[in-house]
């Protein structure tokens, strides 16, 4: 079974709209992290939410975590063309301190 499956696989929105993507996982986690990857580039860390937190904000990003449903959501408000990228959730499992398990990602396209 795979940890960190994102939904939807792809999302196309206009500038100024909000983008919401979800991540589901299967086993208990220490924390869940969201990363952004521009095409062919490295992964940029966006935000980390711990298993005992329910919501976290960073600038235009809002992350929620529901451990009872084993799911997380990432909301990007007032999207910009520069937000066009793939977004991945990554989980750090309860029995592993450093191994991140990534999902397949949500590809977000923001058109001007």
């Amino acid at each position: 079974s795979q940890q960190g499956e994102e939904d939807p696989q792809a999302l196309s929105i206009q500038e100024g709209e909000n983008a919401t993507m979800n991540c589901s996982y299967k086993t208990s986690i220490n924390n869940l992290q969201w990363y952004r990857q521009n095409s062919g580039r490295g992964l940029v860390h966006l935000i980390l939410i711990r298993s005992n937190e329910r919501e976290k904000h960073s600038g235009r990003l809002r992350v929620t975590l529901d451990t009872s449903k084993k799911s997380s959501s990432l909301l990007i408000t007032a999207s910009r063309a520069a937000d066009t990228a793939s977004y991945f959730c990554a989980t750090a499992l309860g029995d592993s301190w450093g191994k991140l398990q990534f999902g397949a990602g949500t590809q977000v396209v923001v058109t001007p």
Partner: protein
């Protein structure tokens, strides 16, 4: 802002050859990682390294792979005898404490 750097950005090699991928983690970080991403697939964990030894490794990280911190700044991944299926983007990451990992831009390895 400090960042993880990786060299080379692109490495082309013949099947069966040895390659060494190099990384310079962020200077005050203590935990180091390698991940890979085969084209179109998920980012996969390879190995984590702390206090000059491997902390955890995945099934992918077999005897053909090794890691080393030869001095106070570099962190290397060696593949002894490359296979076609080793073609991927290899990412180095580092973290100061557990969990929040900062990724380098990656090395694209092409095995012919």
């Amino acid at each position: 802002e400090p960042e993880v750097t990786q060299t080379p950005s692109h490495q082309v090699t013949q099947m069966g050859q040895e390659v060494i991928l190099r990384c310079v983690p962020i200077s005050n970080h203590l935990y180091f990682y390698w991940y890979r991403q085969i084209l179109g697939q998920k980012v996969e964990f390879l190995v984590s390294f702390y206090n000059n030894e491997i902390s955890e490794k995945s099934e992918i990280f077999d005897d053909q792979f090794s890691v080393e911190r030869p001095d106070g700044s570099n962190f290397t991944l060696k593949i002894r005898s490359t296979k076609l299926e080793d073609s991927a983007m290899y990412f180095c990451a580092s973290s100061e404490r557990l969990y929040t990992q900062y990724f380098g831009p990656g090395t694209r390895l092409t095995v012919l």
